[in-house]
Symmetry: C2
Amino acid sequence: MKDVLARADAQTEAALARLFELIRIPSVSTDPAHDADCAAAAEWLVRDLAAMGAEARAVPTLRHPMVVAHLPGPRDAPHVLFYGHYDVQPPGDAVLWSRPPFEPSLTPGPEGETHINGRGASDDKGAMMTFLEACRAFIDTRGALPLRVSVLIEGEEESGSASLAPFLAEHAAELQADAILACDSDQWDAGTPAVTTMTRGICAQEITVTTADRDLHSGIYGNAARNALTAVLTDLLASLRRPDGGVAIDGFYDGVQELDPKVREIWSALPFDEAGFLSDIGLSHPAGETGRSVLEQVWTRPSCDIHGIWGGYADPGFKTVIPREAHAKLSFRLVQGQEPERIRALFQTHIRARLPADARVSFRDHTMGRATAMPVDSPWLTATLGALRDEWGRAAVAGMGGSIPILPLLKEAIGAEAVMVGFASLGNRIHAPNEKYDLSSFTRGTRSWVRILDALADVKP
Amino acid sequence: MKDVLARADAQTEAALARLFELIRIPSVSTDPAHDADCAAAAEWLVRDLAAMGAEARAVPTLRHPMVVAHLPGPRDAPHVLFYGHYDVQPPGDAVLWSRPPFEPSLTPGPEGETHINGRGASDDKGAMMTFLEACRAFIDTRGALPLRVSVLIEGEEESGSASLAPFLAEHAAELQADAILACDSDQWDAGTPAVTTMTRGICAQEITVTTADRDLHSGIYGNAARNALTAVLTDLLASLRRPDGGVAIDGFYDGVQELDPKVREIWSALPFDEAGFLSDIGLSHPAGETGRSVLEQVWTRPSCDIHGIWGGYADPGFKTVIPREAHAKLSFRLVQGQEPERIRALFQTHIRARLPADARVSFRDHTMGRATAMPVDSPWLTATLGALRDEWGRAAVAGMGGSIPILPLLKEAIGAEAVMVGFASLGNRIHAPNEKYDLSSFTRGTRSWVRILDALADVKP
């Protein structure tokens, strides 16, 4: 492996230049104003993969193109499918960024590390490129990969992946593989890698409540006229939460398994700093279900979050309006045993049952995806854990649960297990202003993939 | 009176042309982009009043100028101060207007009436001009008014009237009068005038809640991290409302008097169509306190309305963010016995007591004003009711409560009762898109003021 690892180290500067080019393309998938940028990011990846010798193309969809590529390897070696996404979250309020979100830079971090700054630096452009740079190091050193690699990079992960299911159905034969690899996840801490063996699912909904046929003046109608914001949206949304922090929808927890006591024991032995996890984001009290550890809450318990509310007068000054319309976006994070469609039905029934007189409600679907879990004795997992131990000199944490909504889709379509290894950290501020990726995540991530590819080549599927 | 009334009728076309000029000036006081328009509206009024022979000027304030004018009358006649406002509400979403809000027009209404369309057509430009046109008819016919009239027209009524109190304090001597007249209120129905003898007060607040030091990803933190929208704003705001529709703040109703049974009897005899009042705005169920009539609710009971909520991701698409900040604007309508400052303190105490761990709150004041009521045996009221009976051929309804936050300020500063007569209707959509004023409100309103001015001239203060 030394030759390939040396090559990976030697190419860091060129690899960073490539990553910067990709970050400069503002491929915000949820905003139609950035459609051309999404297409440009896909074309950039096609060119980069073709330069490595791949058979690569961008396939149009109803929204953003899918990048599909095949890199050859020995005929009798396993075949893996790598999944990534080239789209990014909207940058949000520009004034909250220290540097322009789409002008990447390197800056010294507070603890001696170096930050790669920019929207997508971590999620998922930086992470995705660790895999592609590992492939490049193999090909540049040995002329080929030690196993067959197909690549699927979508452009709608941050906006619901609507095109993914139909695309997988149509291209199922072409995308068959023995295992799926993904890198959209975190390492345990700066010195400890992690393999994500469980992910939470999601059921995302938008709700609109309307009352009167126009906005009203509260001086005349205040008290007598139903206010979409006061009486409806706040009451309805507040009704979703139990006093103990749980979700108050009837049947919501049906099918949710309590944590296996053995797993609980392993987790409680993990060097997890609950107070530090919260203080890193300016908080000091766990806000979720009382009586459950933070790890249990974020890994194996379902949750509900409101992502946005709007309605009425929000401009400077004051307007004594009784708004006729109120809106919210919210989602449920799901665990094993919770079907997204069933949760959606329970949620909508809950809201409809509490809707006051003179209020109407409509719902709109956003992302839906099931939770997943990987068998602990999977040979792909065993090989990956071994490769990570070789690179990092210590055991990787297996079991950490992130949330990749498209994972169940991929697993079903491909009919294979998914190995998720990521080198991001919670401090990366993904989806927030000032997103960054540590340079060490990028370089050690690339080295880790070199070792993982080598190890997976020996797995007998 | 016939000569003056005939003159008022004859000048209708010219009066409409003047009103249209004034509506064309987009004097939105809450929006700094319209500061020059507010100044232009003030100057327009100064010119119009000067043309009637008034000593008129626009006095600068920290925000928008005050128009002050004095029209002479017999030395021994009473002296009245007319109050109006030249500023208007923001038009809101342009696509909801059938016609541009600041391009006034006349169109046929559905029931044979004619509509004067435009922002401010009713509130308060159209209403205010009924008074000025009545003065003009007197002056043009007889050379002078039958009593002394001072005029105070402000430009901040729709945005909190912050300049009014300091202005009244500074100009108290100049503005002394025997009675105050205002016209920012409704008639009872198309054929019945009304004198507003009670108004509700207001306490308007803006609330900002912050939690983490950044926006978070719900896939990673969902459950464990306090969500400003989910856990805080919806819970806090929902806690303001009792299940029976009342306000759930401790002490909120202290000092609120139950309706006098005699008044309740008079009100229940009024030809008020509760179902029609609601169906006119697309509703069918009174939403406020159970067990109280709609009239009681909107005239003599305090209320709470949320006027706007914003926070998190509200753009197209979806973003699984846990927002760190949430905002709301809300106000309480107050009745006799409720001090705005005390209600503000109770509200802020209520919120602070319920604030969860890791949440911070800040408040911002908007409009504050006490409720008012007029003695039923006031000679000003008696004279006004007589004049209205002469014009309309039926008794006016006395007691109807609107809400004019600045009224208590004026009454205290001037040391006089306020007679509020207005010719607007609930269908005028004030503060909403497609505001209009009936042409008959404009012409009969002008005629009514001619008669009221004549009748008030005989009152012995």
